[in-house]
Amino acid sequence: MDEPKPASVIASATAEPPPEPLPPPETQPGDIARERPPARALQWRSKVEALVIPCGAIAVALVLFGIFVWTQGANPFAVFASIYKAAFASTRSFENTLVRAAPIMLCALGTAIPLRLGMVVIGNEGALVMGGLMATAAGLLVVEAPALVVQLTMAGAGMVAGGTWLLIVGALKHYRGVNETISSLLMNFIGIALLNQAVNSWMKDPSSLNKPSSFPIPEEKMLTPLGTTDVHWGIVFGVVFCIVAYILIHKTTFGFQIRTIGANIRAAQLAGLAVGKVTLVTCFIAGAAPGLAGMVEVAAVHGVANESLNVWYGNAGILVAFLARQNALACIVVSVMLGGLLASGGILQRSHQLPDATILVFQGIVFLCILYSESLYGKFSIFQEKKS
């Protein structure tokens, strides 16, 4: 688990690549409670803390949700059994979970990566629809080529389009000081408007009368499912992208620069880091992930670009990025968890006659509990390293 602790990030960052323990800090009266443990041997306490707190938060969320469904006239235990059954119990249901997790995982990186720079970027949805749109356009240009060429072209175009979309956000921030949260939020709506305009005019297949769509990518050129399952390549792309992002941020010099800028941009400038360049490149990489998700939606699911690209996977990605505490590997786990929740939304309606918003209530409770639990780190003395 990684630790977003403002006070000690610089110190820990400088010390990290060679995992040398820090010298014991001089503890002043009034120091914040959370400090880097003095020696490696004692770090297990914070590791346990990082496991117990989120698990405890989920347990509390389960209890709260149980009370909620009980007030709605359903048996909480039966409901939990159903959620498990629909999300993880069988191969079929786990496939369902993975299919739903794939776009969310890629979208999560669109927020998680810039967070390491200290930028709160929420433009995943825009990057996703632009990725999907440009991937379709590029795929249609080379539609006569072999399937692999079409797919690679689409993936490339999707990532470049999504990357460029967030690169604009990074550039506005770096060169003009425009708040990246606001600009990326608004860029979402520009992206969606461009998608709608494109499928209603320039790219419209005249035979798509009642649901305007682009010309289709022929079925034999689309991404096939994995083996005999219904899971598509999006999940593979998602996991690989998350791992690559993790390595990039935690194991490379470039990642070190990112984390340094995120910890203290002034210090990074003083140290002579190319803040602008790093910001732009990072934003581009971040945008490439949701852009690729858009490509997968077209190449594996829809076969065309149309308004169905815009179902706000991007927003789910923002939640995942925060819940995973900006850790790219944790994004994989949290996305699968969220995918499972979404997969079980249906069974609550069908088997327990609960309203369709029930699963959103559950999601909301889980997220609030986990976010609240963030404030509990360092509050339990049992997890504190003993002072000698």
Binding site: A86, N96, P212, H302, E307, V311, R350, S351, D356
Partner: protein, 368 residues
């Protein structure tokens, strides 16, 4: 195309001809909606249809609301089939058809996939897929008559989602109905751009009312906001999809409603008798209007005059005996171009009408 028209023409007949003993086993039917079940609109109309069929003996129903037109709907269909044992599914949103229904239908060749609004093509689509839809523009035509009678300013307003054929047909039929009793009436149309845009719909309603429009109607997924706004501003409103009289007790004139319980009931009956799409027992394309009971007109509100009722009932009678043709030449579009020449009659089943891309004379607005 001729063949298609012929098939559709014979449907209603074939569909009502059903006899034989019911099979004892329960039939599980799955219903999928893109929005909320209580949206006062498109989804509520389907959910009410499901409620109707759920009361039939030997029928079990399952339903899921708020299912987006993505992988989600494919998963929902699979779950209904695998977990709930559904033998027939009704994914009711237009966007569910291609590629989602087509993909899942291939994997479950024994399950019936019946889709609202899609066009079945025997050459391209699996045999276990069928489509159904209603000529709701017939009810819009009657609403137009009532609206024209009630309006004092002669200005009617139509708030629509997108300029696609289904929507344009409703606007045109409403206008033709209105102008059949008062040829000077105009219909101002505003497109909001999407199916559920409550804020834009409220703004459109307000701006139309400010311009002197005194009867509103619409084609959006949930007419709730528009009906509420009209009632609040003291003007009249014609409903759509479902009955919204309860939210506008004073100003609700009438409305074009779906009657899906009748349609779903007929399907349930046929399936219980062992009929399927593959064995030809159920036609692949099912269409019907007022006469076939696929759509209905809301009960008249308190503001509807006797003269309006008389004209509307006369038109309704002509629809019921099959003598009414809405699209009868000569019809010009609102740029003055003749779109249906004199002497041409396009019957409701005519596929040409499903490609409509114009607004008729009397409509203020543009499809662009």
């Amino acid at each position: 195309m001729k063949k298609l028209a012929k098939i559709i023409g014979s449907l209603a007949l074939a569909f009502t001809l059903s006899c034989g003993a019911a099979v004892a086993e329960d039939v599980t039917m799955g219903f999928i909606y893109v929005g909320a079940k209580d949206d006062y609109g498109y989804n509520q109309a389907h959910a009410e249809g499901k409620e109707g069929v759920a009361k039939m003996p030997g029928v079990k129903t399952v339903e899921e609301a708020q299912v987006p037109e993505t992988n989600d709907v494919q998963e929902t269909m699979r779950n209904m089939i695998d977990q709930d044992g559904a033998v027939v599914v009704f994914p009711t949103s237009f966007g569910y058809f291609d590629p989602h229904i087509l993909k899942v239908a291939k994997k479950y060749p024994k399950v019936q996939f019946l889709h609202c609004g899609g066009l079945y093509d025997a050459a391209k689509h699996p045999a276990n897929v069928g489509s159904y839809f209603g000529y709701i523009d017939e009810a819009q035509y009657i609403a137009g008559i009532v609206a024209a009678h009630t309006s004092k300013t002669g200005k009617l307003g139509f708030i629509a989602a997108k300029p696609i054929p289904q929507v344009l047909r409703n606007i045109n039929s409403f206008t033709l109905g209105a102008r059949s009793v008062k040829p000077t009436v105009t219909v101002q149309v505003i497109f909001t751009g999407d199916w559920a845009m409550p804020v834009k719909e409220a703004e459109a309603a307000t701006s139309l009312i400010d311009q002197g429009v005194d009867v509103l109607t619409c084609h959006v997924d949930s007419p709730k906001v528009i009906v509420q706004t009209a009632e609040k501003r003291g003007i009249y409103v014609c409903g759509y999809h479902a009955n919204q009289a309860s939210i506008a007790p004073k100003g609700y004139l009438t409305g074009a409603e779906w009657n899906w319980s009748a349609v779903y009931g007929q399907y349930a009956k046929a399936i219980k008798e062992g009929k399927t799409l593959e064995n030809g027992g159920i036609p692949h394309l099912v269409r019907g209007g007022l006469k076939e009971g696929f759509v209905k007109v809301s009960a008249y509100g308190p503001a509807v005059s006797d003269a309006a009722k008389k004209d509307a009932d006369a038109a309704l009678a002509k629809f019921m005996d099959g003598s009414m043709v809405i699209y009868k030449g000569e019809i010009k579009d609102n740029t003055g171009k003749v779109v249906i020449p004199a002497g041409t009659e396009l019957k409701q089943q005519d596929p040409v009408l499903e490609k409509m891309d114009y607004l008729v004379e009397g409509v203020i607005g543009s499809t662009k």
